[in-house]
Amino acid sequence: MEIPVEHKKMVLVRAGTVEDIPRGEGRCFTIQDRRIAIFHLEDGSFGAVDHDCPHRGGPLSDGIVGRDSVICPLHGWRIDLRTGVVIGQEGKSVKTYPVRIEQGEILLKVQG
């Protein structure tokens, strides 16, 4: 079976367990100089985006989480966690990362 080229570059990262992030909050982790914010949404699902707000670099993991968005704690920019798009700021977005939960572990695919 052929493996898509893209996949070859992706690495699976284990970023702790679901208990590490209280429901409705986010936490940050660093991998090779890159900071990523992971969110434990109220509905139990998880989402991950680049940690720094595209506005002034605010720490998104410290933001308040809405149903499917996070609000940057510095100046209130709101980021859709499914798409990474900044709501109301045309053309601005952050990168999103697929998150998978396996046996309570948070698994994240990032480019290696």
Partner: protein, 803 residues
């Protein structure tokens, strides 16, 4: 029919409404109007808004002089008609001049009813009927302090509230056992009394005024019991009686009012009558909607057509008192044989709803506290709808939190949208199209809809939205808690209390919120304020600062501000702060504007360790809470000081520390009017004066500069604490989230604040203190050892990658 001459006696709402209807007909007659008042036509029911400072006189005028000119209407303002000569079809003016008519419309309205009592001719005794009454009362109120309102009906209560807004201490004296007995039953009356008293208005029931006392000017009123209360103003609002003098003298059939038939014609075929002066099948009406209905019929009849018939009106009244929602309609007493009552009452919440059914049809209703169902119920009464199939949800749809959508799309064109002005859906929709209207104001201008009680506003918004589609721009709903909530803070407060919701999650589950995230901190504060003792604090619903008890900085680090009461520190405390700053490599040590020390650039994970090493209470510099109390040196050292500002400042700070508020609260105490602690520009500022203290509230020295309003002058420090406590608690309960006191105080008005928080009669001052103490006793210092244990293992730390 051409150039028939119509004379209208009365330039009030009824007369002019009829004229407006007549002008819509082909070839209208030439019209001459006589008005006893020297003005153009105005909206009489909005006089209470003028008295309450909510509107100016200019804003309540309905038709301009240009309007009269444009329609070739001869207006004689201030000209009294003293007689009607039916034989010669003429009216006689005060000057003796005679004017001929082909048809006559009498719209003389009503006059205030003065109950038998002595002394009504004294200066300072008023009735409340026209612009002159209102303006002289406003002038009198500006120079005097106490008012007695005689008569606790609709008008009396609106006037009482207006006089309160004008800074007066008001007592309402009512003859009957409960307020507004013409519109309310005893239960609703009792709840309304409590609501009125909460506004600082004293209410005395079962009370007859026998005499107004004073030398030339009102000084007191005496009751039939012999009791006496001092007052500077007496307002008589004991009801109205139809003004029938002219008609009676002319020989027209008159009982209580001028008797009219189905076409609004009097006992003379060419004379018609509309408005408060008429009596139809034993009924007289003192409300606008019936008058508008009569106007349409009268206009049709005057034009010579008998196609419209007046069949009486369903009375529906809305009390226009800010802060009280009350609607009463139809026959709210259980009079008929097969009548039954459906009621819901929550007196503590000020809610009472009652629907009277007569054989599955709504006969009447009272809605107090929540009036959203008003338009729907009124329509059912008018149409005689069989409500049997939805009896269960007449008062309750099983989900009280959800604002019920009003099905405006399903309404017929001839159904009434604005009950006050009797304007139908069809009229509004047509006006939107014809005049390309885009907002409520425009519709009000063209159709008069939504210019009185405004409860039809949401319906009109829907009509606009339907008509304009995507081009519709919703008026900003300034009062809504959040874009995702679409309800006011007060409404959510009620839901939270009613349904005992004690956490953000349960509020969210109730369906009140869309969970956008933005309003989470506001809702959290609301919950903590309502349930200080047993609110379930959910960290995910709070701002990062409140999750880690420090203030986030632009680089994601935090700042730490220990509490330094009144800005007074000690060498030992300074040494400890210095040691901590060194140990944790604090990037900057800064003296703040609030007289304390800020340690900046602290890493999140170091926070609990820093608190432990400091061992000083939290300064709450990170929270929407009571911040600092800045003080000057005061009488201890300063050679000008007249008051011990440091001692009082420290006491204040200890009393209020840790208390969360709608927005931050900064305070100061200055030892003399030189004001070195800048008290005039604080949320709560105290200034020592010779022999006492002044307390200012609502000051600001930020983006805007505002000098605080003087709340009170008191003798001793304890009274300062007392006043500041009441104000602070009042702000906690009534401020919008993120509303600073410098917006809050002007919004509510300093007089109202004073009246509410200091008026002992109402019991509110004691309740405020009690609730404050309850809140304060629940305060926990998050930096203290007992509370320092993390609420979650990763409260302060990042995730770590598992290799």
């Amino acid at each position: 029919m051409k150039h028939e001459r119509l004379i209208v006696i009365g330039n009030g709402m009824a007369g002019v409404a009829t004229i407006e209807e007549i002008l819509k007909k082909p070839s209208p007659p030439t019209i001459t109007v006589f008005g006893g008042e020297p003005h153009v036509n105005y909206n009489r029911i909005l006089l209470s808004d003028v008295l309450a400072c909510a509107k100016t006189t200019e804003e309540i005028f309905l038709n301009s002089r240009e309007w009269y000119e444009k329609h070739a209407i001869q207006l004689h303002p201030g000209v009294f008609i003293t007689g009607i000569d039916l034989d010669h079809k003429q009216v006689i003016a005060q000057s003796g001049e005679r004017y001929e008519f082909d048809k006559l419309l009498i719209a003389t309205g009503s006059v205030p009813l003065i109950p038998p009592m002595k002394g009504v001719d004294k200066k300072g005794v008023f009735t409340f009927r026209n612009i002159e009454d209102t303006e002289s009362m406003i002038q009198w109120a500006a120079r005097n302090d106490r008012a007695v309102v005689i008569g606790g009906g609709l008008l009396g209560l609106e006037a009482a509230r207006g006089l309160t807004n004008r800074g007066m201490m008001v007592t309402v004296v009512h003859l009957m056992g409960h307020l507004m007995e013409k519109q309310l039953d005893a239960t609703a009356g009792a709840i309304l009394k409590t609501e009125v008293e909460k506004m600082g208005i004293e209410v005395r029931l079962n009370c007859t005024v026998k005499e107004i006392l004073g030398k030339g000017k009102v000084e007191a009123v005496r009751f039939s019991t012999g009791d006496l209360i001092k007052t500077d103003l007496a307002l008589i609002t004991a009801g109205i009686r139809p003004n029938v003098k002219l008609a009676e003298e002319a020989g027209l059939a008159v009982k209580r009012g001028i008797l009219v038939g189905y076409h609004m014609q009097s006992s003379h075929p060419e004379v018609f009558a509309v408005g408060e002066c008429v009596e139809f099948r034993g009924w007289t009406y003192g409300l606008v909607a019936p008058i508008m209905e009569q106007a349409k019929v009268a206009a049709e009849a005057i034009a010579g057509s008998r196609s419209l018939v007046y069949g009486g009106s369903t009375p529906a009244t809305t009390l226009k008192v800010a802060g009280i929602r009350l609607t009463s309609m139809g026959d709210f007493q259980q009079n008929g044989a097969d009548c039954e009552e459906i009621t819901y009452a929550d007196p503590n919440m000020g809610i009472y709803k009652k629907v009277v059914l007569q054989g599955n049809r709504v006969a009447g209703a009272i809605l107090l506290g929540e009036t959203e169902d008003g338009p729907r119920l009124l329509e059912w009464i008018r149409k005689g709808t069989d409500v049997g199939p939805f009896r269960k949800s007449l008062l309750w749809d099983g989900n009280g939190a959800q604002p019920r959508p009003i099905p405006v799309a399903g309404m017929q064109d001839n159904e009434t949208v604005c009950g006050c002005m009797s304007v139908t859906k069809g009229t509004i929709v047509e006006a939107i199209k014809t005049h390309k209207l885009t907002d409520r104001e425009g519709i009000g201008e063209k159709t008069r809809a939504c210019t009185s009680c405004k409860s039809c506003g949401p319906l009109i918004d829907q009509l606009l939205e339907d008509a304009l589609g995507s081009t519709y721009v919703a008026a900003p709903k300034v009062n809504d808690l959040c874009a995702c909530a679409r309800m006011t803070r007060q409404a959510l407060r009620q839901v939270i209390q009613e349904r005992q919701l004690k956490s953000y999650s349960t509020v969210k589950e109730s369906g009140c919120l869309g969970d956008c995230g933005v309003c989470k901190p506001g809702v959290s504060f609301l919950l903590s304020e309502i349930w200080p003792k047993d609110y379930a604090d959910e960290r995910q619903a709070r701002f990062i600062n409140d999750r880690v008890h420090a203030n986030i900085q632009k680089d994601g680090t935090f700042s730490v501000v220990p509490r330094i009461y009144g800005g007074v520190t000690s060498p030992e405390q300074l040494r400890r702060i210095a040691d901590v700053a060194e140990k944790y490599n604090v990037r900057m040590v800064k003296i703040t504007g609030g007289q304390r020390i800020d340690l900046l650039g602290v890493k999140k994970e170091d926070l609990p360790k820093i608190w432990a090493d400091l061992d000083i209470p939290s300064g709450h510099a990170y929270a929407k809470a009571v911040r600092t109390v800045k003080t000057c040196v005061g009488s201890d050292f300063c050679r000008f000081g007249v008051g011990d500002s440091t001692a009082l400042g420290i006491e204040m700070e200890k009393r209020f520390e840790g208390l969360y508020t709608p927005h931050k609260v900064k305070m100061a105490v200055s030892g003399c009017p030189r004001n070195c602690a800048e008290s005039y520009v604080k949320d709560i500022g105290v200034v020592a004066i010779e022999g006492g203290w002044e307390v200012y509230v609502g000051g600001a020295a930020g983006m805007n500069v505002r000098k605080g309003d003087l709340l009170c002058r008191v003798d001793i420090g304890q009274e300062v604490l007392d006043a500041a406590t009441k104000f602070l608690q009042y702000y906690r309960e009534n401020g919008e989230y993120m509303e600073r006191t410098y917006d809050f105080v002007p919004r509510i008005g300093i007089e109202t604040i004073r009246r509410v928080i200091f008026n002992k009669i109402s019991g509110e001052p004691d309740r405020l203190l009690e609730r404050f103490h309850e809140a304060k006793s629940a305060v926990v210092d998050p930096w203290k050892k007992e509370s320092r244990r993390p609420v979650h293992k990763r409260q302060f730390s990042d995730l770590t990658i598992v290799e």
